[in-house]
């Protein structure tokens, strides 16, 4: 949920609740005040009746105006208590009022306030009921209430709109920082820039993020330099072992067991060396140190590799079929050779005896398919450093290197499996 939405929801709910409570309180207050007013009017009316009776010693005419009825009925002395009541008022409609037709009635009841009192004239007690309609009072309350609600709604709308505008603008630096973080790449040289803002919180956030990224980059560089230096330093001892082995085999006179040991030593050193060279290569590719670009004739390059490896796949009894079209890409020739020889070597290495390899090059992509293990490879793990199948004698860096090369030259490397073929596809970018 966006912060703005959350904020709006909270303000909206609280505003509505408070406004509702205020509305109720307001309504109660107004209606109490107006009822008191009505009661005073009724009392005034009562006083007028008493004065009239005192002067004239008779009841006033039972009259009825628009909103008031006064009814006199005879009553036993002492049976009438003076009381104010909520009651109804029957309002007669005029002869021509269309409501008469509509409701088949002669009038309607309206809520009203009444005063029951008594008056005594010549020993006869009369019950006096003065009833005043509250219609106008209620209309008044309704209008006041409607205006209040209208104002509240207007206020809410203005609040929402201004919140949206102001908050969006306020949060802009935040979103800018977020965007920079999304673009952050620990391997490249670009740092997170200073965002233009006056808000302290964002300044702090920006500073922290910049600090963190600088530190991460520095640590990463240190680590990378360490890997590189370690690999470089390893070259000399490997060279020494290699050269001593080369000398040792010149002494000859080995028995079978000794020569088996020597062969295994050689192959161990070979693997160590390849691993080290792969690490060095990976560091170089990641640092884009091998970035000199030229037009590379893919047709020629791939055909050359196929010829280069033909004795190796023949030795395994593999059947290699290829279909190549003319294609040139703008990239490093050296790295393209490594990329495609890695893929071809993998197709040979992970094949079964008497298996198949299909190679297809066209202007859009390069596809290499090979038979082998009947289980698909784990698409997520194959590019991970040192991930390799259990029976692989490789360094576990081949596909990592291949993918890194592809990344450098905007090529897309994909793996898929459809029985019986493992397929690697490289999509070429649309170069002009």
């Amino acid at each position: 949920m966006k912060l703005l939405a959350r904020y709006n929801r909270v303000t909206l709910v609280t505003t509505i609740i408070i406004m509702l409570l205020t509305g109720i309180a307001y309504y109660q207050a107004i209606s109490w005040i107006l009822t008191r007013q009505k009661d005073k009017d009724l009392a005034d009316e009562e006083t007028e009746i008493y004065e009239y009776v005192n002067i004239n010693q008779r009841l006033p005419d039972a009259f009825e105006n628009k909103h008031q009825q006064i009814i006199y009925t005879k009553a036993n002395p002492g049976s009438v208590k003076r009381v104010l009541i909520d009651t109804v008022y029957f309002k007669k409609w005029g002869k021509n009022n269309p409501k008469r037709q509509q409701f088949h009635a002669t009038g309607e009841y309206e809520s009203a306030r009444g005063l029951i009192t008594s008056v005594t004239i010549a020993n006869q007690t009369y019950k006096v009921a003065i009833i005043q309609s509250k219609v106008e009072t209620e209309d008044l309350i309704r209008i006041i209430f409607a205006i209040t609600i209208g104002v509240i709604l207007l206020l809410l709308i203005i609040l929402l709109v201004t919140n949206r505008l102001i908050l969006n603008r306020l949060w802009k630096p935040f979103y800018n920082i977020m965007q920079e973080l999304d673009l952050f790449n620990i391997a490249d040289k670009k740092v997170i820039p200073q965002i233009d803002t006056n808000i302290d919180e964002f300044k702090r956030l920006n500073a922290s993020v910049t600090n963190m990224s600088t530190k991460a980059k520095r640590d990463y560089q240190t680590l990378k330099a360490f890997t590189e230096n370690a690999a470089h330093e390893l070259n000399t001892p490997i060279a020494i072992i290699n050269s001593k082995l080369d000398l040792l085999i010149q002494t000859e006179n080995f028995d079978d067991w000794q020569s088996k040991l020597l062969t295994e030593l050689y192959s161990g050193v070979l693997r160590l060396n390849r691993l080290n060279q792969s690490l060095l290569l990976l560091v170089k590719i990641e640092n884009q140190l091998l970035d000199e670009r030229q037009q590379v004739d893919m047709y020629q390059l791939i055909e050359g590799l196929i010829i280069q490896f033909d004795d190796i796949y023949r030795d395994k009894g593999l059947k290699l079929t290829y279909k190549l079209e003319k294609k040139e890409i703008y990239a490093s020739r050296y790295l393209m050779e490594i990329l495609f020889s890695n893929l071809i070597i993998n197709a040979i290495r992970h094949n079964r005896d008497g298996g198949e390899i299909l190679i297809n090059l066209n202007t859009e992509n390069f596809i290499i398919q090979n038979t082998g293990n009947s289980e698909p490879l784990n698409n997520e793990k194959i590019y991970v450093r040192f991930h390799k199948s259990s029976n692989s004698e490789g360094s576990g860096l081949g596909l990592t290197i291949s993918q890194q090369i592809c990344e450098n030259f905007n090529l897309v490397l994909k793996y898929s499996f459809a029985t019986p073929y493992h397929t690697f596809t490289i999509n070429f970018p649309n170069q002009v």
């Binding site: 490997i238 085999i249 070979l270 000199e292």
Partner: protein, 226 residues
């Protein structure tokens, strides 16, 4: 052949010296910049092996010094750093080849042989390499046994040259594989396919009445007997 080995790593220097000694080669060594500078300004060599990272100086300036004095010694740079810039700088300054550590001694020897052959060719105009009854035309890449032409595939040709450069030495299968398929190539540990090439070369040489020069050595490698 007179060779100067400029290499600060004692163990490696001794290995190289040991491998090159005998078989008519004279080896001299220099462990640091000062000794090397002194030697290159006094003596002339067929080939100088130059480690460009020396403790007391830069191998590149030794190379510059050689070129400034117009000395025509062949120079092969050996470096622990496989940096394209270094390689290009070295070759631009007139080094004949660039070999990255670690390497097989047989590879080093084959490279030195190539450097020396190029020097000989530019000096005498001879492009023929003659070993007993085998005559190799290095420009046309043609091989003859006596008067018989023999047809070798490019890999067999490269392998034959490699063996001849390492005449009398046991060459490991690893070294052969790296020489033929490149050291970046990470194939399998069994090198059956090398055997097929060796067999073919022997067959072709013997069919043209050549001697059987190549012997297997304890399953670890092969040896060209001169």
């Amino acid at each position: 052949m007179k060779i100067l080995i400029i290499e600060d790593e004692q163990s490696l220097r001794e290995s190289i010296e040991e491998y090159f000694k005998g078989t008519g080669n004279i080896c001299e060594t220099a462990a640091d910049y000062a000794t090397a500078l002194e030697k290159i300004n006094i003596y002339r060599y067929d080939c100088i092996l130059l480690d460009i990272t020396l403790p007391d100086g830069d191998g590149i300036s030794l190379l510059k010094n050689l070129k400034r004095n117009n000395y025509s010694d062949g120079v092969l740079i050996i470096s622990a750093k496989d940096s394209l810039d270094d390689r290009l700088e070295g070759l631009d300054l007139g080094a004949d080849d660039y070999l990255v550590k670690p390497f097989h001694l047989s590879e080093l020897r084959s490279r030195i042989a190539a450097v020396v052959r190029r020097k000989t060719f530019s000096g005498t105009g001879s492009n023929l390499l003659i070993v007993n009854e085998i005559t190799i035309d290095l420009i046309g890449k043609e091989v003859k046994i006596g008067e018989h032409d023999i047809k070798l595939t490019p890999k067999e040709y490269a392998l034959l040259l490699y063996f001849i450069a390492n005449k009398g030495k046991v060459v490991s299968k690893n070294a052969i594989a790296e020489h033929l398929w490149g050291d970046g190539v990470d194939i399998t540990d069994d090198f059956n396919f090398i055997y097929a090439h060796i067999k073919n070369i022997r067959k072709k040489l013997m069919e043209a009445n050549g001697k059987d020069y190549i012997r297997a050595a304890y399953g670890m490698g092969y040896k060209f007997i001169g």
